[in-house]
């Protein structure tokens, strides 16, 4: 099955590299990946689609959490969510078939965003399966070029993927708190 995961990440340099490297070395297959900004400054949101059973979904989520720059991960395939993708499709078209293409555009509630004598560019914002279906229907026409953004997703209803609150830790105490330094002072402390 496909898992759609959304991750809030720190907008640090290299974070995409960290995530991509993790997927590669753990052997997870990314089917699609979309990255963009969020309502909060300094936080980006990544949406992944990963193919695999529930165990793979669980491992992807947990392995992502091991990256320090990852703030929150949610498996949206477990919940009711809105899933969308944008596709731009450039189709070769001439006078004789332009009407048929524009009919399809209308049926799929897509838009023709650029029309020339020999081509039409169709823009579709829809569930990825709808995009697949439009592409099937366009099979009769020569497609010159096609691009899809990869899916993005959001929970239905008022709830959201939120940034967890992290209690600040006293720098001077963390060695003791971790339970690894139960006795004695730090070997050297300035002052």
């Amino acid at each position: 099955m496909k898992h759609t995961l959304a991750a809030l990440v720190e907008n640090h340099p290299g974070v995409l590299n960290r995530v991509a490297s993790l997927f590669r070395r753990r052997g997870f297959n990314i089917e699609s990946l979309a990255v963009g900004t969020t309502e909060q400054e300094g936080i980006s949101r990544m949406t992944f689609v990963v193919e695999g059973d529930d165990n793979v979904g669980e491992q992807v989520e947990k392995q992502l959490y091991k990256l320090i720059d990852i703030i929150k991960v949610s498996d949206l395939s477990r919940e009711e969510s809105i899933v969308r993708e944008i596709a731009l499709i450039k189709v070769r078209s001439e006078k004789n078939n332009r009407r048929d293409i524009l009919d399809l555009v209308e049926i799929f509630r897509a838009q023709a965003v650029d029309i020339t004598e020999y081509s039409v560019v169709i823009q579709l914002v829809a569930h990825p399966e709808t995009v697949d279906s439009l592409l099937e229907n366009l099979a009769a026409y020569p497609i010159i070029e096609m691009v899809r953004t990869g899916r993005i997703a959001m929970l239905r209803g008022p709830q959201a993927i939120s940034v967890p609150t992290t209690e600040p830790v006293e720098v001077a105490r963390f060695h003791q708190a971790s339970g690894r330094r139960p006795e004695g002072e730090l070997p050297y402390v300035s002052e």
């Binding site: 947990k62 830790v169 690894r180």
Partner: protein, 564 residues
């Protein structure tokens, strides 16, 4: 506030963290840092002879003491030479701060002299890494790096600093608090999972504990014993878990895994409840996952949730510091006992003890030497091993009974770890006797660090098990590749002359009768000692679980392997 240079900020930050020793090697881009070092005499710099040595020494320091280790190298080749040590620290969850210099900011990405994309290289082999681009970011980065390296599941953190950032001036402001969004190193223990675990513990007839490195890292040895005693559960150790329970403890049944004992591996395979404590269910410890013990329930306590359900299905995963979890668990049930089960294991131990002891032969064997060293230095000494046959014999026969007594490269299996790691352990534990058991192969990978021992007056005792072979590789070629010895028989220098060339006491032993005296002589010598033990050439480590086999398929002789 007076502004200070980035170099001074680095050294002030190290002091704030409590790092008293840095193992390092200078070079072009870290010169501004070294230039400021004499003004910070509180931080001891130990000049190694190769950056890999700096990395392993920092690991040895961290493993022996539980404190954060620190290694430093210059850009390019200096940085890439650290890579093996960084990976080793990652695999064994050792808290080490790795610092590298890089070319100046305006040269980054232009393939300048001695530039390497070291943060790109260390990304998958560190817990986290940083490229610091402003002097004012140095102090917060060091505070965060030390926090990440030592909390939760510990691990290596790498900080890369361009040359001109060391020179740039900024205020030194040490943060008082740290908060990293989404990083929760002190998770609260899930009560439902504790309840589930207690039910499984109460119901179990044949429970077994796999005690791992986490017990040592979390200082949970006492809690482990209390828990084992109260629940009447026998304890097995992974390689890195050795020392978490004394070998002579009534419930301690030694090491499991590829070269674990016959009884430990069969107890693991026949249990109805597996309790994994601070271990990661590794293939070397568990054998073929599918056939480990498919019907047993599994309680798995680990601070890293990603370890649950990774290799084997976990019935009850508990995320948390293993000491905190054990403290709670102990209070949740009345004392239990499993007499029949323990008798069953004891009987196996009686019947199979021959495959797990020092061979009674006239030749000089590594098993004999290692057991004698263990006897002479006792549990207060530190044993550092390389990787291979001698490492497995050390694990089996050196009576490892104290946390941090054994320092060895487990996950990565890094030959050449031993000499620099022993050096680092001796720095961390100046009052303990540190012995390193070396193979003749691994010794030659990093023996240049003897020079560092002399400079720093570190009296490490090096025992080379010299059989002229890469022993473990030879064993596999003998057993699994039809005796086809390829690239495994190596010529050696005269190790005694080599040691003497460095200027240290060097001895050679070829007879059993000399062993005890030489060990005592080495122990009494105030400086480093090298001993070339000329051992039998083709001994094999038994018992053995062939690669890819289940623990229940443990074999004890060559004939049994051939019959497979």
């Amino acid at each position: 506030m007076k502004k200070i240079t980035g170099a001074d900020i680095v050294l002030e930050s190290l002091k704030k963290i409590g790092i008293d020793t840095v193992f390092g090697y200078p070079g072009g881009v870290v010169l501004p840092l070294y230039d400021r070092w004499p003004s910070h005499p509180e931080v001891r710099h130990i000049l190694v002879r190769h950056e890999q040595g700096a990395g392993h020494a920092a690991e040895g320091y961290a493993k022996a003491s539980g404190r954060l280790g620190c290694a430093l190298a210059t850009s390019g080749p200096g940085a890439t030479n650290l890579v093996t040590a960084i990976t080793d620290a990652m695999m064994d969850s050792i808290p080490v701060l790795f610092i590298t210099g890089n070319v100046a900011r305006n040269l980054l990405g232009r393939d300048g002299f001695q530039e390497a994309d070291i943060t790109g290289i260390t990304m998958p082999i560190t817990k986290h890494n940083y490229l610091v681009m402003r002097a004012e970011d140095i102090a917060p980065t060091f505070a965060e790096a030390a926090y990440i390296a030592t909390t939760g599941r510990p691990g290596p953190v790498h900080i890369d600093i361009p040359k001109d950032v060391f020179i740039e001036e900024a205020d030194f402001e040490w943060p008082e608090q740290i908060s990293i969004r989404g990083y929760e190193p002190f998770p609260s223990v899930n009560e439902d999972e504790i309840k589930n675990a207690v039910q499984l513990i109460r119901r179990a007839e044949r429970p077994i504990i796999f005690a791992g490195h986490g017990i040592i890292q979390a200082d949970a040895s006492k809690e482990l014993m209390e828990f084992a005693e109260k629940s009447g559960t026998p304890v097995l150790n992974t390689l890195l878990g050795l020392g978490s329970i004394p070998q002579d403890h009534v419930l301690s049944y030694g090491m499991m895994g590829m070269h674990g004992s016959y009884w430990a591996n069969h107890a693991a395979s026949n249990a109805d409840l597996i309790i994994g404590l601070g271990m990661r269910m590794d293939d070397r410890a568990l054998g073929r996952f599918a056939d480990l013990n498919p019907t047993a329930n599994v309680i798995h306590v680990d601070i890293d949730p990603a370890e649950h359900n990774k290799n084997i299905i976990t019935t009850t995963p508990i995320v948390g510091n293993v000491r905190e979890v054990l403290k709670i668990l102990i209070t949740q049930f009345e004392p239990l006992s499993h007499i029949d089960w323990i008798h069953w294991i004891d009987e196996l131990r009686r019947d199979h003890k021959d495959s797990f002891k020092v061979p009674e032969v006239d030749e000089l064997t590594p098993q004999y030497i290692e057991s004698r060293i263990a006897e002479k230095i006792g549990n207060e000494g530190v044993v550092v091993t390389g990787v291979g046959q001698h490492q497995m014999w050390a694990a089996q026969l050196m009576n490892i009974s104290r946390p941090r007594q054994l320092i060895t490269s487990g996950g990565l299996g890094t030959m050449g770890f031993e000499v620099p790691a022993a050096l680092g352990a001796q720095v961390a534990e100046p009052n303990r006797t540190v012995w390193t058991i070396c193979g003749d192969g691994g010794f030659q990978m990093t023996n240049q660090e003897i020079a560092t021992m002399i400079d720093e007056n570190l009296p490490v005792k090096m025992a080379i098990m010299n059989n002229g072979f890469l022993g473990m590789v030879r064993q596999w070629q003998e057993l699994f590749y039809g005796n086809n010895y390829v690239s495994v028989n190596m010529s050696q220098p005269d190790f005694v002359k080599l040691g003497e060339a460095y200027g240290i006491k060097s001895l050679r032993v070829s007879h059993k009768s000399e062993v005890d005296d030489v060990i005592i002589e080495a122990n009494n010598h105030p400086g480093p000692v090298l001993i070339d033990f000329q051992v039998e050439t083709e001994g094999n480590v038994w018992p053995m679980v062939p690669a890819g086999a289940a623990l229940s398929e443990t074999v004890e002789t060559s004939d049994q392997v051939k019959a497979l």
